[in-house]
């Protein structure tokens, strides 16, 4: 029988981002899946070595529009390690609040998109309506609906006033109720279950061996979370637990995310109560001492790692970003193979892919031997812009 091969992306309604998946199908059955990335490669890592530490902050924030705060947080933590700066207590709490706000907004966004992928438009609309609550909170605190620019080197830029805290509490209480309702819908709606249960299966074993991160791994029963494994900020001062699910399918990942929204609300409510008064910024030097540092945070999609090497000037010698989507891609292809065409969008979306985080560039001298070479900035510009 003829096998049909077709591309999904770069412009496809299921994908909000340009990436190219190529499928070979036998009827409705996916025989093979392959992925081609690089459409969103914007030369960020290299550009970081062209700008100073403060400017890089804004560039790293724009790696991704959904997890922008996780990127600035991780970047700032790395720089602070390099410069050996202690961040004030209150700033750490505010950073944690922002981190969790962003998790709420991102998980709700994902849940809505998951509804869209399986044709459940009403869930999509409802979730996104409720997501506006957290968007309002973010806007109130930082002044923008996305790219909050809240973290700064040595602390945070804005304080949370008591009036703000009250409004945050109100909003989070509503959101918590709504999240419980969505957990209920996800586990009881018959058509949603038909599409989520047993779809995109990746066992805990597979997730471990292919290095999956974040909710993708936790949805397969791998209880790994940077927030407990390598504690940072003030997570040890609040009560919460690492959510896992043994279902190993889309439903498991959905449940993990919805429960994490509830947890995030709890974390924020506790943090607002125990937050000490005090400074929100420490002074950060213009030049950073020579050395290298790594920081890792649990972004909403999984483990995010920043590596920075400093040569003692005000410009980093190298910034390297390892994003969770890159770690999750091999698992996602495992999920797609052997599935059905209809499951492609939801199974692929279940890792919450983010290609703006992921795209890299490799220049091969010789495509057969795979020999790579080093290029200078002008050479790169010439290569990239030539027509």
């Amino acid at each position: 029988m003829a096998k049909l091969s077709f591309p999904v992306g770069p412009q496809h309604p299921a994908l909000k981002e340009p990436e190219n998946l190529r499928f070979t199908v036998d009827g409705e059955l996916v025989v093979d899946a392959d992925i081609r990335i690089g459409y969103v490669h914007r030369s960020i890592e290299r550009s970081c070595s062209e700008r100073n530490y403060v400017q890089d902050m804004y560039l790293c924030e724009r790696v991704c529009g959904i997890c922008s705060n996780a990127h600035t947080l991780c970047y700032a933590m790395t720089c602070e390690k390099l410069a050996d700066i202690e961040v004030p207590e209150r700033a750490q709490y505010i950073r944690m609040l922002m981190h969790e706000f962003e998790r709420i907004h991102s998980h709700l966004l994902w849940l809505g998109v998951a509804g869209h992928e399986v044709g459940f438009e009403t869930l999509f609309m409802y979730v996104w309506r409720d997501r506006e609550i957290i968007q309002d909170i973010l806007e109130m605190v930082s002044g923008n609906r996305g790219h909050y620019a809240m973290t700064t080197l040595g602390g945070v830029r804005y304080d949370i006033t008591p009036e703000m805290a009250d409004r945050i509490r109100e909003g989070l209480k509503v959101l918590r109720q709504r999240a419980e309702r969505y957990a209920d819908i996800a586990t009881t709606e018959a058509t949603f279950l038909k599409r989520a249960s047993g779809v995109g299966v990746a066992s805990g074993e597979v997730c471990r061996s292919l290095g999956a991160a974040g909710p993708t791994a936790r949805g397969s029963g791998v209880p790994f979370d940077i927030r407990t494994a390598f504690p940072y900020l003030k997570y040890h001062t609040v009560e919460w637990q690492v959510r896992t699910s043994e279902l190993c399918d889309v439903l498991g990942r959905t449940l993990v995310r919805v429960l994490e929204v509830i947890d995030a609300c709890d974390i924020c409510l506790q943090a607002l109560d125990i937050m000490p008064e005090g400074d929100i910024q420490a002074r950060f030097p213009r030049k950073v001492p020579e050395g290298e540092a790594i920081a890792r945070v649990e972004a909403q999609r999984g483990e995010l790692i920043y590596y920075i090497r400093s040569d003692g000037s005000d410009v980093p010698a190298r910034v390297k970003i390892r994003t969770p989507t890159l770690a999750n891609l091999p698992v996602s292809l495992e999920m797609l193979r052997g599935g059905q065409i209809a499951d492609i969008p939801i199974a692929f979306a279940s890792i919450d892919p983010c290609f703006s985080c992921t795209d890299r560039m490799v220049v091969l001298d010789d495509a057969h031997t795979g020999e790579a070479r080093q290029m200078t900035w002008p050479e790169l510009v010439k290569l990239g812009r030539q027509r």
């Binding site: 049909l4 091969s5 077709f6 496809h12 309604p13 299921a14 199908v25 009827g27 409705e28 509804g115 869209h116 992928e117 399986v118 044709g119 459940f120 438009e121 009403t122 869930l123 609309m125 409802y126 309506r129 709606e189 058509t191 949603f192 038909k194 599409r195 059905q340 065409i341 209809a342 499951d343 492609i344 969008p345």
Partner: protein, 326 residues
């Protein structure tokens, strides 16, 4: 007159123009209802009309590898099949414009034409997404068509006729056939969702999977004709179910004897319109409340949970008739 009246009926009222106009209105009701269910404001009343005019005024593209004739004719077949069947469905009186023994079969088969046309249009678009969509259209047809047919046969056996007009007239006493064939009615409603390819059975058009399926390559006026075919199909399908199960244009309690002929016609039309809108309300509700399922789930589920109830209901009716008849 002998020529003009039928032409008027086919092309203007209740045929082509009326069906399109009413279909546009009903599709606005549908979109508005869904918007309300989803907590939104929804489009203004003339929105479907504006969409239609805009589509007509767009450039027409035929992809280079598509079969030009098939690509052009497929939407027309779909539209014509749907519009033609309205002539045999009772609209303002319990008798249709043209009734003959077996017109139920003709209408049911005319209503399968859009599915076949969609298959042809998709297949000859020479596009991978359209091809997958086209095969899905056929697979889905296998799922809903038999239950729909069986469900329509329920009232036919109860009324002892294969003519829609006869079946509608049999309900003149106020006893709607939904009472005799409740299972068939439920099956017909669900199968209608499959026929109209709406959520949860919008599998051939699944936007996030295969873009829009068979009509992915269609632009401008050809897309407009597809849209017209789909929205007319909603009306005709709903009118057919109303005629078979809900007494068509008839409403108990209304003093038909005391009314002049023209008034009964208007009242009948309004009653039928209300019934159609109720059925559309059900369709919108289903669309708002459910996710799309997969094609093989759909086919299995339909044959099992629609086929068997329809068969059971048919068997019970046939058995009861035999007892009464004996």
């Amino acid at each position: 007159m002998q020529v003009v009246t039928p032409l008027f009926h086919v092309l203007v009222f209740p045929g082509f123009l009326f069906l399109v106009a009413f279909g546009l209105f009903v599709s606005w009701v549908d979109r508005k209802l869904i918007a309300k269910f989803q907590n939104r404001v929804g489009p203004p009343i003339l929105q479907p009309f504006a969409d239609l005019i805009k589509l007509l005024a767009k450039e027409d593209i035929i992809p280079e590898h598509a079969d030009r004739a098939m690509f052009a004719v497929a939407p027309l077949i779909a539209l014509a099949g749907v519009v033609a069947s309205i002539i045999y469905i009772p609209l303002w009186a319990p008798v249709a414009l043209k009734a003959f023994s077996g017109d139920l079969i003709v209408v049911v088969y005319l209503l399968t034409l859009p599915a076949f046309a969609l298959f042809l249009g998709g297949w000859y678009s020479a596009n991978p997404f359209a091809t997958i969509g086209a095969t899905r259209v056929l697979s889905q047809l296998f799922g809903y068509e038999v239950p729909f047919f069986l469900a329509c046969l329920g009232p036919a056996i109860a009324a002892g006729s294969w003519s829609i007009s006869e079946i509608t007239r049999a309900q003149d006493n106020g006893l709607w056939l939904i009472s005799a064939a409740p299972l068939s009615f439920a099956v017909a409603m669900i199968a209608l969702i499959g026929k109209l390819e709406r959520v949860p059975f919008d599998i051939p058009h699944a936007k996030t999977e295969i873009v829009t399926g068979p009509e992915v390559e269609y632009t401008g006026r050809r897309l407009a004709v597809w849209k017209l075919a789909f929205l007319s199909e909603t009306i005709v399908g709903a009118a057919l179910i109303a005629a078979l199960f809900l007494g068509g244009p008839h409403m108990w309690g209304l003093p038909y004897q005391a009314m002049p002929a023209w008034l009964t016609a208007i009242v009948g039309m309004v009653v039928l319109a209300v019934k159609i809108l109720l059925i559309v309300f059900f369709l919108s509700l289903a669309q708002a409340a459910m996710a799309r399922i997969r094609i093989e789930q759909m086919v299995q589920w339909c044959l099992l949970w629609l086929g068997i109830p329809a068969l059971i209901n048919m068997g019970v009716i046939a058995f009861v008739i035999r007892q009464v008849g004996a």
